[in-house]
Amino acid sequence: MEKEMQEIAKKLLAEKKVDWVIGYENSFEPGASRPVFMNKPEDAVKLVFNKSCVNNLAVYLPKIKKQKAAVVAKGCDLRSVREIIKEHQILRENVVIIGVACEGVESSKCSTCTENKLDGVDFTVGTVKDLGRKEDMSDIEKFEELSSKEKEAFWNKEFERCIRCYACRNVCPVCYCPDCFANRLMPEYLNKVVNTAENKVFQQIRMQHVFGRCTDCRACEEACPVGIKLSLLTKKMSKDAKKLFNYESGKDTDSRPPLSTFKVDEEGIAEIM
């Protein structure tokens, strides 16, 4: 599989079909990998794919707007790629998608993965199998059952240790804004002081902003250096998008995100007012 991937990358670079190939390489210890950018055909041998390839490489696409890139994408990452194309952060013709048939990496999302299909990719590496896994929202439903006080207490404890390094934001494929609200001073949406309340507001707003665009890829949770349970939030949002607006982000490249459109008669939000 790696060999196949390397060949594709090598060919793309050698034929100058792309400026960059973005994939995974071995990292600082055995069994660890990290993203790599390659622009020389001879580098292609670095490419690996294994269980540690958790990163969602779609995050890099908006940053190389003006160049052409090939990107290694798992089924779940593919959704982010589509979302970014949909939101005009990169043109489809400027990206070559090397889909990998993934059977799961070391991420919390994989046990309930139903997203390993590789529709619309340019190359498929490996054979896509039906993993027979099922979506499971029971943890969200359980959390929803808690009282507001309990919920608040839970999040207070989580965000107490947030260091506002913004790793969650910066690894998020749909957090591509050139100037985040968190940076602004006029008005100051967020005070610089790092405390539970401000940290929580940051995440509330970030979650609201990525609603209907977030693909629950868990990149934010994987990136968080202090292990805040962000997947609870991203999963909740994908659940809401489905329930309220019958929308799943990253399924295509042309439908409108749920907050960018509306229906006169909303089926999902029966008399909410």
Binding site: F143, E144, S148, K149, E150, K151, E152, A153, F154, W155, F181, Y189, A197, K200, V201, Q204, I205, M207, Q208, F211, G212, L233, K236, M237, D240, A241, L244, F245, P258, L259, F262, K263, V264, E266, G268, I269, I272, M273
Partner: protein, 137 residues
């Protein structure tokens, strides 16, 4: 109504064309409602950025009410449809974060529904108070 020790702090965002005018009509009809709500005029509920609601709660509001034109009546034809969607998901999200559903409300009040506006405010105040009482236990 019983006398409360401490007043609630409720922020109301009303669209200029329907609900703000409706609230004016409430006044014209001298329909009494609790003074806990303070109103910020916005052109349209489409202008309502969910961040404004989050910020209001963050800054210490007990409750938030957003009110606009009935669906189909928006002065700008579509703004309230967008707000309806934002509201539906924001309410869920905030609840998930522990901001009780009793604190966050939205309503449709037209320019001719002065009485309804008073009823809406009463409901918001009652529910917010209800939350506050249960939370302080």
């Amino acid at each position: 109504m019983e006398v409360k020790e401490k007043k609630l702090n409720i922020v109301g965002f009303l669209c200029n064309w329907c609900s703000y005018a409706g609230a004016d009509l409430t006044g014209l009809g001298r329909n009494i409602y609790p003074a806990d709500i303070k109103i910020i005029r916005i052109p349209c509920t489409g202008r309502m950025d969910p961040m404004m609601v989050i910020e209001a709660f963050h800054k210490g509001a007990d409750g938030v009410l957003v009110s606009g034109c009935h669906p189909g009546d928006c002065h700008y034809s579509e703004g309230n449809y967008y707000w309806r969607r934002r509201y539906a998901h924001l309410k869920e999200l905030l609840d998930f974060f522990g901001i009780d559903k009793r604190r966050f409300h939205a309503s449709w009040v037209s320019a001719s529904e002065g009485k309804k506006f008073a009823e809406v405010v009463k409901k918001v105040v009652t529910e917010t108070q209800d939350w506050k009482d249960s939370n302080s236990k």
